[in-house]
Amino acid sequence: MSTQEEKLHATNHYLYYPDEENIPTYLAYGFRPIFLLLAPYFIISIVLWGLVWSGYLNIPFMDNVLTWHIYEMLFGVLTAGVMAFLTTGLPELFPGMIPFVGKRLKYIMLLWVSGRVSFWFIDTTGVYLTALLNLAMLGWLIWFAKDIVLDKLQRHASLGYILIAIFGIEVWFFASILGWSGSDSMSILRVALGAIVILVLLVMRRVNMEAVNELMEDKGIDDIYISRPPLTNLAVFSVILFTAVEYLYPTNSALGWIGLATGASILAITSDYSLEDKFILNQPYVIYMFFIFVMLSLGYGLMGWSILFNEGNGISSFRHFITAGGLGLSYLMVMITIGWIHTGRHLTSNIYTHLMVSFMILATFIRGLIPFFQEYQMQLYLWSAIAWSIPFIIFIKVFFNFLLAPRADGIKG
C-alpha cells in the first residue's frame, strides 16, 4: 500500500483530528492510555484475587469480599473497556465526530484511576466516594455516547440504552449496599452481569463484522460477512429472560431450561461464520471470536444443567465461563484488534495472539470446572488466576511499544 492509500484508509477511522498541540503519544487516541492502564490493572487485581481466594493472602478488605470482587470485576473494568470501544468506535460509526484526545482524555483517565483507588481503599475512604467516582465515570461515558441515542436513524441506539440500564443497575447496587434498597446486592450483581452480557453481544456484532471483513479484505477473500440482527436479538432476548427469571426465582427448574436455551441461542450467532462460498473458520481471528460465543454459551448451558440435574451446585463456578471466559476474551479481543488496527497496522495473528487466547480459555476451564475437582480447589483457584493474567502480560510485551509510539502509517491518532 502506498502512503497515500494508507492515509485514505485511516479516514475510515475518523474525518477530523483535533488541532490541540503537543499531545503526547500515549494520549493521542482514546484507547492508548486505557490499554496502558488496563492491562497492568488486570494482572495486579487478578493475582491479588487469586491469592485471596486460594487463602494465601488474607486481605481484611471488607465484610463482604465476594460481593466486592464481583463488583470490581464487572463495573470497575467495564468502564475502561467501554471507553476504549466508544472513543475508538464512535468516530468510525459516526463520521464527523471528533476523536477524544489530549488533556480531556487525561482527566477522564484520572477519574477512572481514582475510581479504582477509591475501590481498593473503600474501608478507609468509604462507600460514598467509591459510588460517586464510579458512577461519574459511567455517567460521563453515557454523556459521551449521547449521539448514538439521539441519532435519528437509531442505528446503534441499543448500545446507548443498555449503557443507561447498566448505570441504573449500578445505582441500584450502591443503594442496596447503603441500605436504601431492600434488594439483595448479590442478586443485583447477577442482573448486572446479564446486562453486561447483552452489551457484549451488541458490541461484538459490530466488532465482529468490522474485524472479519477487514481480515477478508486483507487476505483477498472475496465474500462479505454479515452478522444477522435476528440471531443476536434472539440471544439478547434469552439473556434478558434468564436474568429476569434468575432474579425472581433463582432455583426454579424452568430457569434450567432457559439456561440451556440461552446457551443454544448464543451459539446460534456463530452460524453466520459459515459463508456462502468461502470457508473462513480457519482464520485465527474468526476462531478467537468464535470462542467468545462458545464461552458465554457454555456458561449459560452449564448453569442450566446445574439447576436441572445438580441442584444448582457449582453454579457460581460455571458463571465464570461467562465472566472470566466470555467477558475476558471480549476485553482481550477489543484490546488486540484495536491495538493492531488503530496503531496503523494490519490485523495480525502470531504465536503471541494464539497464546493470549489459549491461556485465557485454559484459565476459564480451570476456574469453571472446579466443581468437578473439589479436592484440588485451592490449587485450581491459584492456577486459573495465574493463567488468566498471562494474556495481559503478553499484551504488555507485544503492544506497549505500539501504544507508546506514533501510528505506524504516519497519520495522527
Binding site: 440471531l231 434472539l234 434469552s238 429472560l241 426454579n252 427448574s253 424452568a254 430457569l255 431450561w257 432457559i258 440451556l260 436455551a261 440461552t262 443454544a264 441461542s265 451459539l267 446460534a268 456463530t270 452460524s271 459459515s274 436441572l308
Partner: protein, 260 residues
C-alpha cells in the same frame, strides 16, 4: 453422486445453523415446565420427568416392538401413496383432460376428514394393519398427487421448445429440463405427505388396533399415565423432526437451489 456429495459437504454448516431452532425448542420446554408448576404432575408432568420416562421406555424391548409396528404401517402406507400419488399425478399432469377430471375427485379426497375414513376402513377391513395402511393411503395420496400434477402442469413450454430445437436426446431432456422442475414440486409434497402419514398412523392405531404407538397412547390414556403419554408424543415428534430436518430438509434445499 456429485449431488449427494454436495449435500454432505453442506451438512455440518446446516446442522450448526440449527442452534437457533434448538434454543426456541428449549424455551418452549421452559414454558412447559411452568405449565407443570401451575397445573401439577397429573395434568402436565414436568419435562424432566417426561424425559426420564422416555429414557426408561427406550430401554424396554416392548416399546421398540411397538415402534417397529408403527414404523412398518407408516412406511407401507406412505410408500403406496408415494408410488400411486407420484405416478398418477405425473400422468394426470401431462393430459389436460385428466387433470381437469381429477381435480374434483382430489377435492373430495382432501375434504373428507381422516376420522371418517378410519370408520369406513374399520367396517371394510376390520381391526388391523389394513385399516391403518388404507387410512394413511387415502390421507396422504391427494397431497402427493396434487404436487406431482402441479409439477408437470407448470413445465415451461419455452424450455421444452428450446430442448426440442436443440434435438436433445430424451434422457437429457428428462434429467436436465423436466426433472429439476418437477422434482422441486413433488419433493415438498412428499415431505408434507410424510408428515401427514405420521400423524394419521397414530390416530388410526389409537382407534383401530391393539398394538403400535397409537395403541400404547390409548393404554396410557386409560390408565391416566400422563408421563408415558407425553413420552410417546415426544417419540413421535422427535422422529418426525429427525426425518424432516436432518434428512429431508438438506435435500430439499439443494433441490430448490436453482429457484433462487
Amino acid at each position: 453422486m456429485k449431488f449427494i456429495l454436495k449435500i454432505l459437504k453442506n451438512l455440518p454448516a446446516y446442522l450448526w445453523s440449527g442452534w437457533g431452532a434448538i434454543a426456541s425448542i428449549l424455551l418452549f420446554i421452559a414454558f412447559w415446565d411452568i405449565g407443570n408448576q401451575i397445573y401439577g404432575n397429573l395434568v402436565l408432568p414436568s419435562p424432566l420427568e417426561t424425559f426420564k420416562t422416555l429414557y426408561a421406555m427406550l430401554h424396554s424391548q416392548d416399546v421398540w416392538e411397538q415402534i417397529d409396528i408403527t414404523l412398518y404401517r407408516a412406511s407401507v402406507g406412505f410408500g403406496l401413496s408415494l408410488l400411486f400419488g407420484s405416478v398418477l399425478g405425473l400422468i394426470a399432469g401431462f393430459f389436460a383432460t385428466a387433470s381437469m377430471m381429477s381435480r374434483p375427485v382430489v377435492t373430495i379426497l382432501v375434504g373428507m376428514p381422516p376420522i371418517a375414513w378410519i370408520v369406513l376402513a374399520m367396517i371394510w377391513f376390520g381391526m388391523g394393519d389394513e385399516t391403518v395402511i388404507f387410512t394413511i393411503l387415502v390421507a396422504s395420496f391427494p397431497i402427493i398427487f396434487v404436487g406431482a400434477l402441479q409439477g408437470t402442469r407448470t413445465l415451461d413450454g419455452d424450455l421444452k421448445e428450446m430442448a426440442d430445437s436443440f434435438h436433445l436426446p430424451w434422457h437429457m431432456k428428462f434429467i436436465d429440463v423436466y426433472f429439476p422442475h418437477i422434482f422441486s414440486y413433488i419433493f415438498p409434497a412428499w415431505v408434507s405427505g410424510l408428515g401427514m402419514a405420521w400423524k394419521i398412523v397414530i390416530m388410526a392405531e389409537l382407534l383401530a388396533t391393539s398394538d403400535g404407538l397409537g395403541a400404547s397412547l390409548a393404554v396410557a390414556r386409560s390408565q391416566l399415565d400422563t408421563p408415558t403419554a407425553l413420552a410417546l408424543v415426544v417419540i413421535m415428534i422427535g422422529s418426525l423432526m429427525f426425518i424432516e430436518y436432518i434428512i429431508l430438509e438438506p435435500i430439499k434445499r439443494e433441490v430448490e437451489l436453482w429457484r433462487s
